[in-house]
């Protein structure tokens, strides 16, 4: 299907999140051919799942919209969703790359009319909302999805439900016979911007994520606050869908911890500070406690910290919470720890707990790839001895959106240099 002709003058960008989109566009707008591959059925990556950015509390879709427009009007960028790099061989200036594309079961004829979803009765856990709600098995990944095209979950392909979708589509857009395909690319440089995953909070087992319903993670909180999220933008306890009267944020849930992620994930302090404003906006009388080791609000982000500190309903308690148990009757959570400023024991009851889980980089793990180096934590390290493949964004260091963009812009120039060196 993908008829992609590229030369060693082209740049491959792996990952269609904020970093990847940026690297691709910055290079393309300087006149270079770029191919972007993204594993999800849509571009935008993790930021599409965020409700707002700190510190401006602005919606990520705003910047994404501009980027998508840049992409729409620039023939230099070609992108492929549901696509992953399968192998890379060669060297700087001359890479052969194989890209594997998973079947979407919906072709380019899709007009997004939504008839397939109407016809489909089967539901799946909504991956966009971290499984907090259900979505039809024929679905648009989210309202702002780019490209705007439906997808069929493989579970209904070849079933009655799949047939129903097929019959409902007036445009011949459903294609149950779609198979995984591969295509080859020739490129001169590669930007690795595969992003990150939230640390598996269940591994911090004493916090009970996955066991206690009302313990959620910070990425889930983003979806909950979003108007297109599982609760329509309301912050509700998962156990009983009631508004929490008090919420605890636990910082460094996994980060700065040699048992989990020894590094600091950099963004979680600000993420929690930001999320207090979500709570405040919706429920002015909700009490919030932030349990922290150090609050890391670098540079002018300090202003945001100061702003949240001024909120009398937000308590900052310096403590790494040692244990959470659930009150089985109410689903409330009992937090134990030491208030290290007073030396007093903490035994506090909360309606809901948000774990500020950290970032885990997506490292290059391919069957075949040139020598790339990662640090002990799995972060990509740009190796001056092996130019040609450059990391960008959170694969290099855990960081916020602005720094990812900055890093990806740098990554674009590095890739251009690889081509210029030929």
């Amino acid at each position: 299907m993908a008829d992609v002709q590229t030369t060693s003058q082209a740049i491959l960008v792996v990952g269609g999140g904020m970093s990847g989109i940026t690297a691709a566009l910055e290079a393309a707008e300087a006149g270079y051919d770029v191919v972007l591959v993204e594993r999800n059925p849509y571009l935008g990556g993790r930021v599409t799942q965020l409700y707002q950015y700190f510190p401006k509390l602005c919606p990520p879709n705003c910047g994404l919209e501009i980027n998508f427009r840049r992409m729409r009007q620039n023939p230099k960028v070609r992108f492929f969703t549901m696509a992953e790099v399968a192998s890379i061989s060669g060297r700087e200036g001359d890479y052969d790359v194989t890209v594997k594309m998973a079947p979407r079961y919906v072709n380019e004829k899709c007009t997004c009319c939504g008839k397939c979803a109407e016809a489909c009765e089967a539901e799946i856990d909504n991956p966009f909302n971290y499984g907090m709600d259900k979505i039809k098995a024929a679905y648009l990944p989210h309202e702002f999805a780019f490209p705007m095209r439906y997808i069929l979950d493989p579970s209904i392909v070849g079933t009655d439900q799949g047939k129903k979708c097929l019959d409902a589509c007036e445009y011949g857009a459903i294609d149950p016979d779609m198979k995984e395909t591969t295509f080859d690319l020739k490129v001169g440089a590669i930007v690795w911007a595969a992003g990150w995953n939230p640390y598996d909070a269940a591994k911090i087992d004493y916090y009970g994520f996955g066991e206690y319903k009302n313990v959620i993670t910070n990425v889930m909180m983003e979806r909950m606050a979003a108007p297109n999220g599982p609760t329509g933008g309301r912050i509700l306890r998962p156990s009983d869908k009631k508004e929490p009267k008090n919420i605890a944020f636990i910082q460094c849930a996994g980060s700065r911890d040699e048992n989990h992620l020894p590094y600091c994930s950099g963004i979680c302090c600000l993420a929690s500070l930001k999320q207090t404003t979500y709570v405040r906006e919706r429920k002015p009388d909700c009490d919030i406690a932030i349990f922290f080791i150090d609050i890391r609000a670098l540079d002018r982000l300090e202003d945001f910290y100061v702003k949240v500190q001024a909120d009398p309903k937000v308590a900052f308690i310096k403590s790494k919470i040692a244990n959470i148990t659930e009150d089985e009757g109410t689903g409330n959570l009992i937090l134990e720890g030491e208030n290290t400023r007073t030396g007093e024991q903490i035994l506090m009851n909360f309606d809901m707990v948000v774990l500020a889980t950290g970032m885990v980089p997506n490292r290059i793990e391919l069957d075949a790839a040139p020598d790339v180096t990662h640090d002990e934590y799995g972060f990509f390290t740009n190796n001056p001895e092996q130019p040609g493949i450059y990391g960008a964004g959170c694969v290099r260091t855990p960081t916020d959106v602005a720094s990812s963009v900055q890093d990806a812009t740098a990554g674009a120039l590095k890739a251009i240099q690889s081509i210029a060196r030929r």
Partner: protein, 292 residues
Amino acid sequence: MKYFLYWGCSLEGTGANFLVSLKPSCEALGMEFEEIEDWNCCGASVSYAGANDLAIKVLNARNLAIAEAHAGYDIVAPCSSCYIQMIKVNHEIQEDPQLLREVNECLAEGGLSYKGGIKVRHIQDVLYNDIGVDRIRERVVKPLHGLKVAGYVGCQSVRPYGEYDSVNKPVVQDRLIEALGAKAVPFPKKIQCCGSGIFLPEMDYCMKLVKNILEDALNHGADLISTVCPMCAMNLEMYQDRINDAYGTHFDVPIVYLTQLMAVAFGMDLKKDAALNYNVIPPEGVLQAAIG
């Protein structure tokens, strides 16, 4: 499968029901045991009051060295305290060549040496990973249907290394209990410390810990509590009267070893093999009700 069984001091005394029940029930699963010749005490957790750390390490290294010099089987240590002391020394020696040299310098005084080649295992580890719940289930002739067991894991049988089970949310004992046909009740305090080896000198403080554990087990509907540690068993069972006096409670909860449950479920003799008559708070009632 053959193992060294390092049962330690308690299993010859206050924890005798553990040893008595362990041998037949495990042998019924095909395990063979050999004693470490002329073994010595592990030092437990209070020796620091008398000895420095190296001495306690050497104490354990001696047992490891004897085992290594003989057949080199894995050592099974049913007593949690023995287990933790031995596995800890073993870990540290394996990670720190300097420590290994020092330890060997000391062992040499008694003509021994240790290379670090022995594996130390907990009995739960062996049952779960070497034997497996399927084989255990197959061996059951009198399933403990309807019996609600609070599997008390305690501390040192899983912490700190988490060799075979989660250190904070262990599941292995529950899986083993279920393999016997019983129901493992959820029981958050199953990993809360009972006071361990300082129960005796710090009784006032530790009784409260035990009270919380017993309460939690009963609140979750347990008929009895199972353990895999002679100190846990002792602390949980023998002080219930005192706790009742101190707190006005009415505890009378049988505390059994997991291996006792195994012997019962395997249809063995309730006295000779399951050693139920060793228990001060009699578990026969609930067990008989389960096996009919």
